[in-house]
Subunit: 419 residues, 2 copies
């Protein structure tokens, strides 16, 4: 084959690497803004109630393999028409694990890196949650491999396991950690969330939508990125659009068209529920213009473009004042489509994307840096998008709108207080 | 083969069964003690703080396959010496899934059964967590199959995924649900925990330690079985004693001797940490005499006997006043063993079991009913033991000591307020 490899960094074959390809290493927190200190273990409940505000992400680190393939070269190799992957899918590069690494080595690397960079004593970790849909062993969790990092410190008292539910497992792991800090059993230590996946597809149309990465997030109170919990909305359903029934194969079975429709249906459902909860509690209509940035799970960038346009169409259907008259006029012909028709209409898809383009450039484009360069990272994809916004816009962050997971979906809003 | 099948009930091949082999159906809650009502969704945080006391298990249901093999017959079939499985392992029967059921059908059955028996509106479930180490699909979670039960009600807004970490996944799922109810994001609805597993071993010494069952537990505040969170202790380590690296096989790879030592080491570690936390907070020494019942994860009954004796030995080493002088004298010869030597000493094992026998009969035996009859249920095993105590002792329950999971272990105490 004539694939062009673009090594971002020399491969490091050791299981536990001390230096990583890292986003957040470029922007360490200034010394004047130290990490939120964990409360001393076993302090009284009342004290913890006081301390336990703004629970969220205190620090973040990311690792992705040093090897990738450029989508332009993959087009040539596959005999695909020029632009099919770069414009059709909207992707630039695709990272992949070579034979010296896997989801376990990536997660070991990123956890060790985060603890070292932010000078976190391993004894101060009280919960460790892993989100992944890449199965190396059917019983032994990835979390147990990560316990090696804590062996030397003697800290074996760490709750948390692996969460699995396609791409949503990382978000489940994050929410579990946040809930733990807010619960009565919190002992004052940090939570640590790891999202690690390697997305590999059989030869065919899905192959260019692979990718690989691991992300680690330190969780605790008084966080610069905290979660608004009251308007959270989820959509879970029993669908066979993406699954891995052949246990011996690393390839999923994918129904691409069904999977895309599921993504958009779940997006609609989450957004509808989210808006209803927001409006009930706040007493005002919500529209995407109220969010400074929207962060989506990104199987490939084109689906993110379609999703944002779909939210814009939702706002039109909800008669939001933020949709201008010109857009209203242009979307009017689609107002009476059934929802099934609306998912299939190419004209609506194209029209709404054009109308939402000016908002996409402001609210979504800053989140697309890493997902376009690395590809689909499954559980880590949403948080790579979040890291991209932080990297691009850390001077002016206010409010996000999150959207996670290709299949089983979920939406939440995060307030960013300072960075 | 000359295996004797002992059908407990006629097989019901439908995926979703409306009647199940059930423990709790024999003891429905009296009408004068209704289930704790969930708070209305989205009520204010202050109200929820008030309501959110005594979070724990409101209701429980269990399903196990109608087919099993008697261990006596299995001894004959395997050409094993008489008593090897019944006395050596301490097991009576072993349930197994026939070709018409699996972990998914069992979990569908038990969830439907619990909702029907306790008249729970499916819309009132806000979180659904599954613990399992039986992998049917590497990406699609068991939780998504269970979403079928909620389809008709239109409730798709249900958080939670599958938790996987060998036998500990069920306990992780339970703790996640409890933390959710205690967190800021709780919307007033019930949590639902499902533990479902089928334990099947390759021909050889581990085969008689199989089993199969699913357990469902409804979680909310004001529960008759609530969890004491302050003294919880976990022990997590990276060990290859039990794992499933051959993804195409349903058999685990087991190092029986190492696995048993791991269990006892983790038990020691949890108990030591638990006692230290208890003594720091309460200011009194803890010993097993302070617990009315001890509930263990039960791969086979003999290991439960050994584990309880090990706790008794711990109390001796900690110089607890509850260990009488006769026992102190008999255990003195083992006081100077290294901990490694103490795990290998047959004399200590036998001696401590004899000395603890009178306490075992009171504190542990009531929990052994279902695990001895059904076999190892992996994630469901601990909760089958809990259900056994409730069944046997519901008139006089006060306090438990829990111990979960064969590999990656964990301990917590539960207060039972009333039943």
């Amino acid at each position: 084959g004539n694939l062009v490899y673009y090594p971002r960094r020399a491969p490091r074959p050791r299981r536990c690497q001390s230096h990583t390809n890292s986003l957040t290493s470029h922007t360490p927190p200034p010394a004047s803004q130290p990490l939120g200190e964990p409360a001393e273990a076993q302090s009284g409940r009342r004290d913890r109630e006081m301390e336990c505000k703004d629970v969220g992400i205190l620090a973040m680190d990311m690792y992705f393999p040093p090897t990738c393939v450029q989508q332009e070269a993959l087009e040539v190799h596959d005999g695909a028409s020029k632009g099919k992957y770069t414009i059709g899918l909207g992707q630039d590069c695709m990272a992949f694990c070579s034979e010296v690494e896997d989801v376990i080595s990536m997660s070991l690397t990123v956890v060790k890196s985060l603890l070292e960079k932010y000078h976190i004593d391993p004894k101060l970790i009280g919960r460790l949650e892993v989100g992944s849909e890449t199965v190396i062993d059917k019983s032994k969790s990835i979390k147990t491999w990560l316990m090696q990092i804590f062996e030397e410190s003697g800290n074996t008292d760490i709750e948390g396991v692996d969460s699995s539910n396609a791409c949503y497992g990382g978000t489940a792991a994050l929410l579990n950690c946040v809930n733990w800090v807010e619960s009565r059993c919190w002992d004052g230590r940090y939570g640590l969330v790891v999202c690690t996946d390697s997305a590999v597809y059989a030869e065919g149309p899905a192959r260019p939508t692979g990718g690989a990465a691991a992300i680690a997030m330190l969780i605790g109170p008084n966080a610069p990125i905290s979660f608004e919990s009251k308007y959270r909305a989820s959509h879970m359903a029993h669908v066979y659009d993406f699954y891995k029934p052949d246990l011996a194969s690393e390839y999923p079975v994918v129904d691409g068209k069904l999977s895309q429709t599921c993504y958009l249906m779940a997006l609609d459902s989450c957004y509808r529920q989210y808006c209803a909860k927001y409006e009930k509690l706040v007493g005002e209509q919500f529209s995407i213009s109220d969010a400074d940035y929207c962060v989506f799970h990104s199987p490939y960038n084109k689906l993110v473009q379609k999703s944002f346009a779909r939210l814009y169409f939702n706002d039109f259907m909800r008669n939001c004042s933020s949709v201008d008259n010109d857009a209203k006029e242009k979307l009017q012909p689609f107002a009476n489509l059934t929802s099934e028709e609306s998912y299939q209409s190419r004209d609506l898809e194209k029209g709404s994307q054009q109308l939402a383009k000016h908002l996409y450039d402001i609210k979504v484009q800053p989140s697309t840096l890493l997902p376009k360069q690395i590809g689909n990272m499954y559980t880590a994809s949403l948080y790579a998008a979040l890291a991209s916004v932080i990297y691009n816009k850390h001077a002016s962050l206010v409010r996000f709108w999150f959207y996670a997971s290709i299949l089983y979906l979920y939406a939440f809003v995060s307030h960013v207080h300072s960075l």
